[in-house]
C-alpha cells in the first residue's frame, strides 16, 4: 500500500501488447526488460526494450507461461515490477503471488482479488451477492449435472471455461447429443490455454450485445469507470471489432450498468485496470465476468478519453490515486487483424512478412508487432495488428476505419483485413445493428468478392510476368543523382518495375 517507485519494468508478454507497454513505460521514464521465447529472438518487442532476456523454447508452456524462467529473468535484469499484459500469465493468481513474494510489484489486482474475480464461477457468486443480474447458469462441471441444468434451462446452452477469456474453451451446444463432446473439448482447450480445465454452463441468449465497462481502482479504495465499449462483433466467441462508447444505449441503461460494474469492483476490493463484461438484451443486462487485466480492446477507451491506460496501471501500482475521468470525446473503433485465412474457414495462417503498409494520419492508431521480415509463428495467438480509429462521431470513426483498412497491406501472411473491411463497410454495421450473432447473421460463410479476386488475379499475372513487385530496398542502390532520370522513367511501370524473381536462400 505504500508508494513505491518503479524503475525497471519486465514485460511478461510478447507481440503488440509487449511493444505497447514498453512505449508507455518509456514515456514515464521507466526502463523496460523484454522476455522472449526461442521463436521471438528477432521480434519487435525485443528490439524495443532496454534489456531483453531469453526465457525458453517456443512453446508457451516453456517460455511465456514459465513462471520460474520469468522470475529468474526479472531477478537477473534487476526488474522491480512485472507487467503481465493480457493472456498468458495475466490472470494467474499464483503468478501474481510469486511476483509479489519476490518483492517485485505485480501490475494488476492483488492475487486474492484476481482469484475471486478471474474465476468466472466465483465471480458470478460475487455478482449475485452484490445484486448484479447474471445470466441463468450452473457451475456444475460434471456431465450429469450439466445435463440436468441444460434440460431445465433449455438448449442451446453455452459451455465456458471457469478460467481465462478470449473465447477459448467456449462451446455452444445446440442439443443434448452434443453436450458430452463439447464439455470434453472445452475442458481440454481450457486446460491447454489456462492450465485450468474447470467449466460451467450458461443459458444461451438469443441475440444479445456484448457491452463492457472499463474500470480503474487505486490502492486507496477509489474505483472509477471509464465508459463502456461494445464488443458484439465476434467470431467463435472471439472479438473482432470493438467500439467506444457502445452505440445506441439508453442513458439509463448505460448508467445502471456502470453502477453495477462499480458495485462489483468495490465489493471485490478491485485494484488496477479491469473490465466488467455484460450481455445486453433489450433493456436488460447480465453480468458475464470481470477481466482482471488490460483488455485487447483498451485503446478505444484511450482514444475517447485521451488517456493512456498502461500509464494509469503503472501509476496505480506506484500508489497514486485515480481521478474521475473527463467527459469522453467522439467515438473510436478497433479492428483486430488476425493471422487467419477468412476464405478458408479462418484457418490459422503463418509466414514471414514480405511487405507491410500501415495506415496513418489524423485519428488513426496502429498497435502491432509486425514489420518487414517479421515471422508469424504458429505457437501464439493469431492477433497480429490492431487498427484503431477515432472520429468526432461514430460515422466519422467508421469512415476513417474503412479508409485505414484500405491503406493496410500485408503480404506473406494471410489475414482478416479484407474481411473486417467488408464488415466495417456493411449496412448492418453502419446502422449499429449489433449483436453477438452479427457474423453468423450477415457474414456466415465469407469469401472475397469477385471484384477483389479479379484485382488479385491481375496483380498475380503482373507479378508472374515480372511487371510488379520486388524489394523496394533492393532498388535504392545508387541513391544519388537519380532524380531527373528516374522522375521521367517513373511514368512507366514497365521501365521501373523490371524483372524480379526471387528464389529465396533456403
Amino acid at each position: 500500500m505504500k508508494p513505491r517507485k518503479i524503475k525497471r519494468l519486465l514485460i511478461a508478454n510478447r507481440g503488440e501488447i509487449a511493444l505497447r507497454i514498453i512505449r508507455s513505460a518509456r514515456v514515464m521514464g521507466i526502463e523496460t526488460v523484454a522476455v522472449y521465447s526461442a521463436a521471438d529472438a528477432a521480434a519487435a518487442h525485443v528490439a524495443a526494450a532496454d534489456d531483453a532476456r531469453p526465457i525458453g523454447a517456443a512453446e508457451p508452456a516453456a517460455s511465456y507461461l514459465n513462471i520460474a524462467a520469468i522470475l529468474e529473468a526479472a531477478h537477473a535484469a534487476g526488474a522491480d515490477a512485472i507487467h503481465p499484459g493480457y493472456g498468458f500469465l495475466s490472470e494467474r493468481p499464483e503468478f501474481a503471488r510469486a511476483v509479489e513474494q519476490r518483492g517485485i510489484i505485480f501490475i494488476g489486482p492483488p492475487a486474492e482479488v484476481m482469484a475471486a474475480l478471474g474465476d468466472k464461477v466465483a465471480a458470478r457468486h460475487i455478482a449475485i451477492s452484490a445484486g448484479v443480474p447474471v445470466v441463468p447458469g450452473s457451475d456444475a462441471g460434471d456431465l450429469e449435472a450439466a445435463r440436468q441444468f441444460a434440460a431445465s434451462a433449455g438448449y442451446p446452452i453455452l459451455v465456458k471455461a471457469a478460467a481465462g477469456g478470449g473465447g477459448r474453451g467456449m462451446r455452444v451446444v445446440g442439443e443434448a447429443a452434443g453436450l458430452a463432446t463439447a464439455l470434453e473439448a472445452a475442458a481440454r482447450e481450457a486446460q491447454a490455454a489456462f492450465g485450468d480445465g474447470r467449466i460451467f454452463l450458461e443459458k444461451y441468449l438469443a441475440r444479445p450485445r456484448h457491452v463492457e465497462v472499463q474500470l480503474l481502482g487505486d490502492q486507496h479504495g477509489t474505483v472509477v469507470a471509464l465508459g463502456d465499449r461494445d464488443c458484439s462483433i465476434q467470431r467463435r466467441h472471439q472479438k473482432l471489432i470493438e467500439e467506444a462508447p457502445a452505440p445506441g444505449l439508453e442513458p439509463v441503461l448505460r448508467e445502471r450498468m456502470a453502477a453495477a460494474a462499480l458495485t462489483l469492483a468495490r465489493a471485490a476490493g478491485y485494484r488496477g485496470a479491469g473490465t466488467a463484461e455484460f450481455l445486453v438484451d433489450g433493456d436488460n443486462f447480465y453480468f458475464l465476468e470481470v477481466n482482471a487485466r488490460l483488455q485487447v480492446e483498451h485503446p478505444v477507451t484511450e482514444l475517447i478519453f485521451g488517456c493512456d491506460l498502461v500509464v494509469e496501471q503503472l501509476r496505480i501500482a506506484m500508489g497514486e490515486r485515480v481521478a474521475e475521468p473527463p467527459a469522453a470525446r467522439g467515438c473510436a473503433i478497433e479492428c483486430r487483424i488476425n493471422a487467419e485465412d477468412p476464405a478458408q474457414d479462418f484457418r490459422p495462417a503463418t509466414g514471414r512478412v514480405i511487405k507491410l503498409a500501415l495506415p496513418a494520419g489524423p485519428g488513426v492508431r496502429v498497435d502491432t508487432q509486425l514489420e518487414a521480415g517479421a515471422e508469424v509463428a504458429p505457437y501464439y495467438d493469431s492477433l497480429i495488428a490492431k487498427l484503431i480509429c477515432h472520429g468526432g462521431g461514430r460515422e466519422q470513426a467508421r469512415a476513417r476505419m474503412a479508409a485505414a483498412l484500405g491503406e493496410f497491406m500485408l503480404l506473406g501472411v494471410r489475414n482478416t483485413a479484407a474481411f473486417v473491411r467488408e464488415i466495417i463497410a456493411s449496412e448492418p454495421f453502419a446502422r449499429a445493428d449489433l449483436s453477438t450473432r452479427f457474423i453468423e447473421e450477415h457474414f456466415p460463410r465469407w469469401s472475397p468478392a469477385d471484384r477483389d479476386l479479379h484485382d488479385a488475379l491481375i496483380a498475380a499475372a503482373l507479378a508472374a510476368n515480372g511487371m510488379l513487385g520486388g524489394a523496394a530496398a533492393a532498388d535504392g542502390g545508387t541513391n544519388r543523382g537519380a532524380s531527373a532520370a528516374d522522375g521521367a522513367a517513373a511514368h512507366s511501370p514497365w521501365t521501373t518495375l523490371g524483372e524480379f524473381e526471387l528464389w529465396g536462400r533456403r
Binding site: 514480405i354 511514368h491 511501370p493
Partner: protein, 177 residues
C-alpha cells in the same frame, strides 16, 4: 496463364493482352478488362479500374505468387507455365498439414478404411484446434507423424492407398492420380 489459389482447386485463366504506357488490357476467364497501372515508389503499383483505385503489390517466389490488392492478401500457384509447379492431381493421395502446428490427436490407424468427411487428425495452431477430414473414401496406408509432434506447413501426415472398394489397387497408386 492458369492460376489457382493455394489450398483451393478452382483455376483461373489470366492473360495480359496489351499494355501501352499506363494502359493495360487483360483477359480473365475470357472476359476482357481494361485498367490503368501506375508504378508506386515501393515497387508496387496503383491499379485504376472501373472508377476504383487499388494499391497492388506482388512477389513471385519459388512456390507461389504472393499478391496484395488493397487489404486483401492472396497466395496463388501457377498451374502451368515457367513459374509454376503443378500441385493438382495428388490432393486425395495424402493429407498434408495446412499450417504449422502441433499434431494434437490422430483419429485413424494404418489400414483403416475412411469415408468422405470422416475426421482424421486434430491440429493445434495459435491455440485453436483444427480438424482435418477425409476428402473421399480411402484406406490409410501410413501415418507419417506422431501425436504431440510439431509439424511444418505442407508436411505429409497421412498417406492413402485406394479405397477398399477396388481391392486390386490396394497398396498401389493413390486415387485420383
Amino acid at each position: 496463364m492458369k492460376l489457382k489459389r493455394a489450398g483451393d482447386a478452382r483455376e483461373f485463366e489470366v492473360e495480359i493482352v496489351a499494355r501501352e504506357g499506363a494502359a493495360l488490357r487483360l483477359r480473365i476467364d475470357g472476359e476482357e478488362i481494361a485498367a490503368e497501372l501506375e508504378a508506386a515508389a515501393d515497387g508496387g503499383a496503383t491499379l485504376r479500374i472501373g472508377g476504383r483505385h487499388v494499391r497492388i503489390y506482388g512477389m513471385r517466389t519459388r512456390n507461389a505468387i504472393f499478391v496484395a490488392a488493397g487489404p486483401a492478401a492472396w497466395e496463388f500457384v501457377a498451374v502451368e507455365g515457367r513459374a509454376g509447379r503443378a500441385r493438382g492431381g495428388l490432393a486425395a493421395a495424402e493429407v498434408a498439414a495446412p499450417m504449422p502446428g502441433k499434431l494434437l490427436r490422430i483419429l485413424v490407424a494404418e489400414g483403416d478404411a475412411v469415408a468422405a468427411g470422416q475426421p482424421l487428425l486434430v491440429l493445434e495452431a495459435m491455440k485453436m484446434e483444427t480438424t482435418l477430414y477425409a476428402e473421399g473414401a480411402a484406406v490409410v496406408k501410413s501415418i507419417r507423424a506422431a501425436a504431440g509432434a510439431m509439424v511444418d506447413h505442407g508436411a505429409v501426415l497421412i498417406e492413402f492407398s485406394r479405397a477398399p472398394a477396388d481391392p486390386s489397387a490396394r497398396e498401389s497408386d493413390p486415387p485420383g492420380a
